[in-house]
């Protein structure tokens, strides 16, 4: 006579091992992926040898911008200066020039500040002219309240 308890002890041990198969492969792939990313981003990252001035650090961008302004002050070649300034990809080039001019002035570098301010001024004039020539029917912003006829 077979007891119920005896039959419950019988187990097939090979079945769970087969079911676990996919998980250890996934674990291995995730582990490898993490190791690969650590290697590619931290240990041996890509080093760009041919970068653009837009990727320079702020100090070197300032030097580049200052050189552009000095050349403009020396040669008066506005178009070339604008093309050179564009490669720095400043969000607002006019603001970048003005802010740097103020910093140079505060540091006592008056000649550099003058060059930067001169270029900023020329750029501002150019932008105003472009705005008016491209949009001749543009009306300046109404700053005074509109008068209503009173009875």
């Amino acid at each position: 006579m077979i007891k119920l308890d005896d039959t419950q002890e019988v187990r097939n041990t090979s079945e769970p091992a087969e079911k676990r198969g996919a998980w250890y492969l996934l674990t291995g792939m995730i582990l490898g992926l993490i190791l690969g990313l650590v290697f590619a981003w931290v240990i041996n990252p890509v080093i760009y040898e041919n970068t653009t001035p837009a990727n320079l650090d702020e100090g070197n961008k300032d030097t580049y911008r200052s050189m552009i302004a000095q050349v403009y002050a020396a040669t008066g070649d506005f178009n070339r200066a604008v093309l050179r300034l564009a490669v720095l990809e400043d969000v607002v080039p006019l603001y970048a020039l003005g802010a740097q001019a103020q910093r140079a002035l505060a540091d006592g570098r008056q000649q550099e500040a003058w060059c930067l301010a001169l270029f900023a001024s020329a750029l501002q004039t150019s932008l105003e002219n472009v705005n008016y020539t491209n949009h001749p029917d543009v009306v300046p912003t109404q700053t005074l309240p509109v008068l209503n006829a009173t009875p």
């Binding site: 250890y24 291995g28 582990l31 993490i34 290697f39 890509v46 970068t51 990727n55 320079l56 030097t63």
Partner: protein, 118 residues
């Protein structure tokens, strides 16, 4: 035992596949972006433009020391080498003759200054 060996082999293969995928992603798909590069990493056309700017300023100021310090912006190489490389690049890319002349003048000034120092 045989099954365990096979599992270890597949585990190692899975790690290698993941490793390859991670390296490809990290190098090709989404590489680290350096926002704070140094000027010596600039592309050659930008380096040449810096040399041209130094030459334009030298033409206006006739200050060789200032020109040499401006050339140092693009790298630690000797200033004459920097100008010569820029001239070679400019020649290959058909820069305007007046720009070429400015750079030749700068090269000549730098050369004579360095020769005097020696």
């Amino acid at each position: 035992m045989r099954r365990q060996t096979r599992r270890i082999l597949f585990f190692v293969i899975a790690i290698l596949v993941g490793l390859a995928a991670g390296v490809i992603y990290g190098w090709e798909v989404n590489p680290v972006q350096y926002a704070d590069a140094a000027p010596d990493k600039l592309r050659m056309d930008y380096k040449t433009d810096v040399v041209l700017m130094a030459a334009e300023l030298y033409h206006a100021e006739k200050d060789t020391d200032a020109a040499i310090s401006r050339l140092a912006y693009v790298g630690d190489a000797p200033p004459l080498d920097i100008v010569e490389k820029a001239i070679n690049f400019a020649e290959r890319n058909n820069y305007a003759p007046e720009d070429m002349q400015l750079m030749w003048h700068l090269a000549s000034a730098v050369d004579s200054t360095l020769t005097d120092l020696e």
